[in-house]
């Protein structure tokens, strides 16, 4: 009885030790690609891609289930970077102007919930004061839209200014 217990215990300990050593020695960085993609993604887990957070999106990208243009906050810059990393071609890089958060001042009650949730500190404002979005720092993740109790936060297409206006492609093709 005692001999059997001792044998089994020592066997268990020995095998456990071997396994833990093997895990250390033969460890492979199996998720190198996953990690690389995670450094590219915004990492704020907004869920606009339809996957559970940026980790889930990275898995779907590796499995080939998602398009490199899956991330609206990342925009076409991220889509190009992902396509290059994954060695895939981008079907259409241009999907219109990016959406950015905008506050309707007449509805803002200054609850400051959005300020706490903004992953890029793009919302300026203090409690009981009207808030405003600093568009240069906003990536349009929409986390603020969900927490706003008065729905004064909306994602809207970025307004074109002289700095962001671009010549269109010539309409009439010749050559």
């Amino acid at each position: 009885m005692i001999a059997a217990m001792a044998t089994l215990t020592s066997l268990g300990l020995l095998l456990g030790l071997l396994l833990s050593l093997a895990a250390r020695i033969f460890r492979t960085p199996s998720n190198a690609l996953h990690e690389e993609i995670m450094t590219l993604l915004p990492g704020v887990n907004c869920g606009q891609c339809g996957y559970p957070g940026c980790g889930g999106a990275a898995d779907a990208l590796i499995a080939g289930k998602a398009s490199p243009a899956l991330c609206p906050p990342g925009g076409s810059a991220l889509a190009r970077a992902l396509a290059a990393t994954l060695g895939r071609t981008l079907e259409s890089a241009d999907d219109g102007p990016s959406l950015l958060a905008e506050i309707d001042e007449s509805l803002c009650i200054g609850c400051a919930h959005c300020v706490k949730h903004c992953p890029t500190d793009a919302i300026v404002g203090a409690p009981k004061q009207i808030h405003s979005v600093f568009q240069e720092a906003c990536m349009g993740c929409g986390l603020c839209v969900e927490v706003c109790p008065t729905e004064c936060l909306q994602l809207r297409p970025q307004t074109t200014t002289l700095a962001t206006w671009r010549w269109p492609k010539p309409a009439l093709e010749g050559a």
């Binding site: 925009g75 890029t120 720092a137 671009r166 010549w167 492609k169």
Partner: protein
């Protein structure tokens, strides 16, 4: 000095006869002036006046912001009635922050201090005064002149080139300026020579302007450092890089600047503005504008205050006929379409053109016939047809490899193209798409940084909270021990 030819180029009809024989006239002061805060390359100017404030002629309205920027002065006396947005002289028709000045008609100057002799100032002080007068490149590049002067002195430039080529068709404002105010220009050139500390200046004028050449020769007869040269009339002889090549045979390196070859190019209008600023204490508040084109009743050269609307200038020239199909700011080769005439004259506006259907190319593009005329015409030695193909395929690395950044959008290729392909439009499109990509990448980088900074801040706050809690615990324990000891 041996002259060298530059590559390519075209001979578009000059059309300068429409306005070149009309002496410069002063535009009557319009009731309102619209002064965009961004009239120059670099950061926008920062307004220092308030709405309702009365200002004198020449008073500073907005100061320069950043290393390359330019201040803005009041072109006349009056009241600031708005600081808001107004349509920019830009093909998009989008607005720019603009100061609106209502003229009071008194032309009351601010008090001006007597000016020291510019030659008693140090070169850096001269450049600083040029900067303070808000002078930018008057040929249309709008780059702050003081920055150019300083950089050229530091680079040890040996020759100052004054560009009086005016190779754009229709334009005659520089021609008239040289014919009528040659001594003032030559004085400005001498001041600029002092600012750059260069031993000599060359004034290059296209040989289709014999009167201007004669006037300038007469004006600089006493100054042996300054020489007037006649350039062959071929577009784009007035482009800085082509001008340098014609003068020296040196080609400006790709991605480089003219000063890399030891020459500094400034426009004649800039030399005149420098003279006005350092001799009369008049900042850059007006400029000569050619108003021309087949749809203008009486084409003229006008000295217009900055901020006057294109409509004011056109109205003074007898108005625009119904046959006007296109309104341009600048020349027909490199100018850009204006969304409406209700947009102001800015520092770089050399012309306003109202063109009829006979003057514009309204052909439907047809397929490329591989004739190679665009390649022959390109003064930069590029392959326009290949670049346009890359732009159409959206092959952005390909078009960069073909030298898009060396294209100066002169339009020679499109002028020669028998298929009427909109080559420069493809290049503008490609250039903007690349700029958009750069902007997006910079923003993505910034966003990543902001996220990291916020996470670091939250972590610090968490740690501080934990430390405070630990301290409270320790203090509580200490108090408890003290209480026990007291009890003893």
């Amino acid at each position: 000095m041996r002259r060298h030819d530059f590559r390519g180029g075209v001979h578009p009809p000059g059309q300068k006869h429409l306005s070149a024989e009309r002496a410069i006239e002063l535009l009557p002061m319009p009731p309102r002036l619209y002064l965009p805060l961004q009239q120059h390359a670099g950061g926008p100017a920062l307004p220092i006046v308030t709405v309702g404030q009365r200002v004198g002629k020449g008073e500073l309205l907005a100061q320069a912001q950043g290393a390359a920027s330019a201040p803005l002065h009041a072109p006349t006396s009056g009241t600031i009635i708005a600081i808001g947005e107004f349509t920019a002289p830009h093909p998009s028709g989008l607005p720019l922050p603009t100061i609106t000045l209502e003229a009071d008609g008194a032309e009351r100057w601010i008090e001006r201090e007597p000016l020291p002799d510019p030659f008693s100032l140090s070169p850096a002080q001269v450049a600083a005064q040029v900067g303070a007068a808000g002078i930018v490149g008057m040929g249309g590049a709008n780059f702050p002149s003081a920055v150019k002067l300083d950089k050229a002195r530091q680079a040890g430039v040996h020759t100052l080139v004054i560009n009086g080529a005016e190779c754009e068709p229709y334009m005659s404002c520089d021609d008239r300026l040289m014919r009528e105010r040659a001594t003032d220009i030559v004085d400005g050139v001498a001041i600029m020579l002092h600012a750059v500390q260069a031993p000599r200046a060359l004034i290059a004028i296209e040989d289709n302007k014999p009167e201007a050449i004669q006037a300038m020769r007469d004006a600089c007869r006493s100054d042996t450092r300054i020489e007037v040269l006649n350039l062959p009339s071929r577009y784009p002889a007035g482009s800085a890089k082509q001008l340098i090549q014609w003068l020296t045979g040196l080609e400006t390196p790709a991605g480089g600047r003219g000063t890399d070859t030891g020459l500094l190019v400034h426009n004649v209008g800039t030399a005149y503005a420098v003279h006005r600023a350092l001799r009369d204490g008049q900042p850059l508040i007006s400029r000569i504008v050619t108003v021309s084109g087949g749809a203008v009743a009486e084409p003229r050269n006008l000295e217009a205050p900055l901020g006057a609307l294109a409509a004011d200038l056109l109205a003074y020239c007898g108005g625009v006929g119904d046959d006007c199909v296109r309104l341009l700011m600048g020349g027909p080769m490199m100018g850009h379409p204006l969304p409406s005439a209700e947009t102001p004259v800015i520092k770089g506006t050399n012309g306003i053109l109202a063109l009829t259907i006979a003057e514009v190319s309204e052909h439907t593009p047809s397929p490329c016939i591989r004739c190679g005329h665009c390649v022959e015409a390109c003064p930069m030695g590029l392959l326009p047809v290949e670049m346009a193909n890359s732009a159409r395929r959206e092959d952005w690395s390909g078009i960069q490899a073909l030298g898009l950044s060396d294209c100066m959008a002169c339009g020679s290729c499109a002028y020669r193209c028998p298929s009427h392909i909109a080559l420069p439009q493809y290049f503008a499109y490609a250039r903007d798409q690349l700029a958009e990509q750069r902007r997006e990448e910079a923003k993505a980088q910034q966003i990543r940084q902001l996220i990291q900074q916020r996470q670091a801040r939250l972590a610090r706050a968490e740690q501080a909270k934990a430390e405070a809690a630990a301290q409270r615990q320790a203090a509580k324990k200490q108090r408890a021990i003290a209480a026990v000891e007291d009890d003893d």
